[in-house]
């Protein structure tokens, strides 16, 4: 609880810092909106030209996309700077986290807040509500609850994976390439139903486990239970916690590594 209190204080000061760069904020939000519009445009053109993709209509795919973006938006608001961990290490900024009596993790995540995530919130909500209407979904309370849990699990999964990726910088010095690979995986899972890509790809994204961010849960939310594996959507929250646990272990190892190499 003490940690949470410190975290909130850190976040407050980070918000204050961000406020200083209004131009970047506006440009950032616009960028995110355009970026997402382009992604949705690609899906739209492709799928409408061919009517559907492996049984997924345009609106099914917009739904899939929105589910990803909603989870992602919370991640990008609070944890986006995991991508910059290598910067902290190279510049030596990380040292200061180790000479203060608060856990380095709390200090690190409290260091920044990314307003750009608001762009994702907007896109996520807009595309979700459009898809919800067009698909004429009528969810009961249980379904809405499940939806909320799934969105949060998505956030946790992405955050934990990025955390692990960031940790690799403690060994390799740079995590850019791995971040880049993750971005590409994200792009695929975000945009396409992964049953398109054949079995072994599905195994990979199930193990990594980004398929739990949107694909498996949307099978349940969209009632696509003809796939034998749709039940996997139900275990999303469990997978999320498990990934987070693994990330925490990797983090401990990374800190130990830093203490012995310091670079």
């Amino acid at each position: 609880m003490e940690s949470l209190r410190i975290y909130l204080k850190l976040i407050r000061i980070s918000m204050q810092s961000r406020m200083q760069y209004r131009a970047d904020f506006v440009i950032g939000i616009i960028s995110v909106l355009v970026l997402n519009a382009v992604n949705l445009g690609l899906i739209g053109i492709l799928v409408s030209r061919f009517n559907s993709l492996h049984g997924w209509t345009v609106w099914d795919m917009v739904f899939l996309y929105s589910l990803f973006v909603l989870g992602h938006s919370i991640y990008s608001l609070f944890f986006w700077h995991f991508n910059q961990m290598d910067d902290y290490i190279i510049r030596g900024t990380f040292d200061q986290f180790l000479v203060r009596p608060v856990s380095p993790f709390i200090q690190f995540i409290g260091r920044e807040i990314q307003y750009i995530g608001f762009g994702d919130v907007i896109v996520g909500l807009a595309s979700f509500s459009m898809a919800y209407t067009h698909l004429e979904l009528h969810w009961g309370v249980g379904m809405w609850l499940f939806f909320a849990v799934v969105v949060l699990s998505g956030t946790v999964v992405e955050m934990a994976i990025r955390w692990i990726v960031a940790c690799t910088a403690f060994w390799t010095g740079r995590s850019v390439a791995l971040t880049f690979v993750m971005n590409r995986f994200n792009l695929l899972v975000q945009q396409y139903p992964i049953d398109v890509f054949g079995t072994w790809f599905r195994v990979v994204v199930t193990l990594i486990p980004i398929a739990f961010m949107n694909y498996y849960p949307s099978l349940i939310l969209l009632g696509k239970t003809e796939h034998g594996w749709s039940w996997l959507g139900l275990v999303s929250p469990v997978v999320a916690l498990l990934t987070l646990f693994i990330a925490a272990i990797v983090w401990r190892l990374a800190l130990r590594r830093y203490a012995s190499s310091g670079s």
């Binding site: 970047d24 995110v32 382009v38 492709l46 061919f50 880049f180 590409r184 398109v196």
Partner: protein, 265 residues
Amino acid sequence: MNIFWSFTRQAFHNTAIYRFEYWLQLVSAFLMMYSVYWIWNILYTQRPGAFGVELGQMVTYGVIAMALESIFNPGQGPQMYISSQIKSGSIDTDLIKPLDFHLHMLAKNFGEISFRFGTIVLPAALIGFLFLDLQPPATALNGLSFAVSLTLGYLVLFSLNFLLGMVSVLTIDIRSIAWTYNSLVRFFAGQMVPLWLFPGWLGGLANVLPFKCIYSIPLSIYIGKLTGAAVWEGLLFQAVWVVVLMAVCRLVWAGVHSKLVVQGG
């Protein structure tokens, strides 16, 4: 010319230092090629021979586009270098070098790209031929034209990246702009969805913008979607854009340079 080679060699070294990164890039290139292969296969089972292009051609287009993206991705282009130099104030060190900055950037970037072409795109293409039904160029002439067209496409991309780098002089954080720019380039260049699938006005727009020089023209030549006179038209279109953009780059740089000199960096 000597200077050019020394930059290229330096770039070779810088790129080669991070071994782990290299293998990841190769893996990620293959991943994207694999995925695009499946997408087209599935779409073509629903509608064989769609839009006058055979499945084999379409897969070849998509797979090569993905392989190229791993080196054309603007995450590493001159704009990132320029923006970081400006942010840290070390652009001065570039200004005092007795080199033309624009050509210096070109030499540096070309060195990096050539190295990455050899170590990422070629192995990736080889994997493509072995596992992903990649086809050779439609004809020998198409193959040759593809090589020329790809070089021109690279010059267009370099120029656009360089201009984006100039934006950072306005002391704006260009990272978020770079993502958007990246996605717009890929969209209008036909990197994922070829331009002939674009509906009406969007297709019209994409056809006059310079972006299609980067992926669409070279790849259409490769798979034989463009043949005969259309090939020459494509190359001419690219050449015109290269000349125009290079000129714009030099003009903008001249302006930026004098601004930097006045401000003292």
